[in-house]
Amino acid sequence: MSGVGSTEPQAEDAGVDGGFRDSSARAQLLLTLADDELILGWRDSEWTGIAPTLEEDVAFSSIAQNEIGHARALYELAASELGTDADALAFDREPGEYACAPLVELRLLDDWALTIARRFLYEQADRVRIAALTASSDGEVAGLAAKIDREEVYHRLHAELWAERLAGEPRFAAAVDELWPYALGVLEPEHRDELARLVGRELVPAHERGVHTDALELLWLEMTEVRRSIPGAQW
C-alpha cells in the first residue's frame, strides 16, 4: 500500500480520459476488490429461492447482499477519485475491464460442494487481504476495510461451520482441491503463503487474475442488461 496517495510518475495516468485502465494504483486496487465482491455477490444470489435448505436460502441471500454492499462502498470510493459513480463502475464497463479473479466468476449453480468450497476459500483469502488493508496508511481505505471485516466475520463463521460439517467428505475435499489454484489467484503473490497456512495446503501454480473465464461473459450480459437497454438507468 506504499503507493497509495503517491504523486510519483503515475500521476499523469491518474485521470479518467484513457478509461479505467489508466486509473491510479489506489483506484485499481479498489476496483479489483469491488469487482470480486460484486461478481461473487451475484453468483451467491443465484441460490436465492433454490438453496438446499431454507436456512441456506436465507444465508446465501444475506451474504450476497452484504458482498454487493461492500462492492458499492468500494466503487463509491474509487468513483470519487475517477470522477464517475458506483453504478457506472459496476455496470457500464466492458467484460474485459473487470478486474475480478476467476474464482468468483465460475458458475457453480447445481453443485453445492463446489459452492461451499468457494465460499470457504474466498472468505479465507479475503480475510488475508482485508487484514492487510486495515493496516493501510490511507485512512479511507483502512476505515472501509475494517467496516467490511466486521461483516465478513459472519461470512467466515458460516463457511467454517460448513467446512467443519463436511470435513472428511470426499466430494467436498475434491471440490476444495479443484478450486485451490483459483483461490490462490485471488491474492497477490506475497499473501499466498499466509492463505496456504490458513487452510493447511501446499502452494501450487495459481489460476491468475487477468484472463477471464468464459463464465463471466454470460453473467455480464445478464448483470448489465438494464443499463445497456437504458443507459444511466437506476432501480
Binding site: 436465507v58 447482499q65 452484504n66 458499492r72 476505515g143 463463521l157 458460516h158 467454517e160
Partner: protein
Amino acid sequence: MVTAEQVWAAIGEIPDPEIPVISLVELGIIRNVAVDGNAVRIELTPTFLGCPALEVMRRSLEETVEELGAKPEVAVVHDDSWSTDRITPAGREKLRAAGLAPPAPRAAGETTLVQLQSKAFRCPYCGSTETRLENIFGPTPCRSIRWCVSCRQPFEQFKTI
C-alpha cells in the same frame, strides 16, 4: 436560524425504516450534526454496508432538515467507529419489547462460533438464556435467528457489529 439541538430533536423522531420501533438516533447511527449558518451537515453510518434502507434514511434526514428551513447535507461515513454498542439503552429496550433481542456487546476479538452458541443471548419474550443459534443470517443483514428452548419460540437477534 436553526441550532444543532433543534436538528437533533427533529431527527430524533425519524424511525428506522426496517425496524420502526427504534429511531435513527436511538440506533446510534447518526454520528454528528454540524450547523454552519443555514447549512446542516449530518453524518450517518449504515449498520451494514449493503443496507437497502440507506437511501430512505438519507431522504428522511434531508426532508426533516428542510422542514426546519435549513439546507441539508447528508454524508455517509464508512468506517469501523460505529458499533452496535452505540445503540442507546432506551433503544435496546424498544428492540427487546418488539421481540428483537438487542445485540451482545462487541467483544475485544473476533466473534467466534462458540460465542454465538453461548448463554449470552437472552430470549426477548421470556428472558431465558437457554437459547440456541438457528441461523447466523436472518430477514435483514443485521439479524440472526435463534430459538428459545424455554418458551419454545424462535426470535430475531440483532447481530453484534
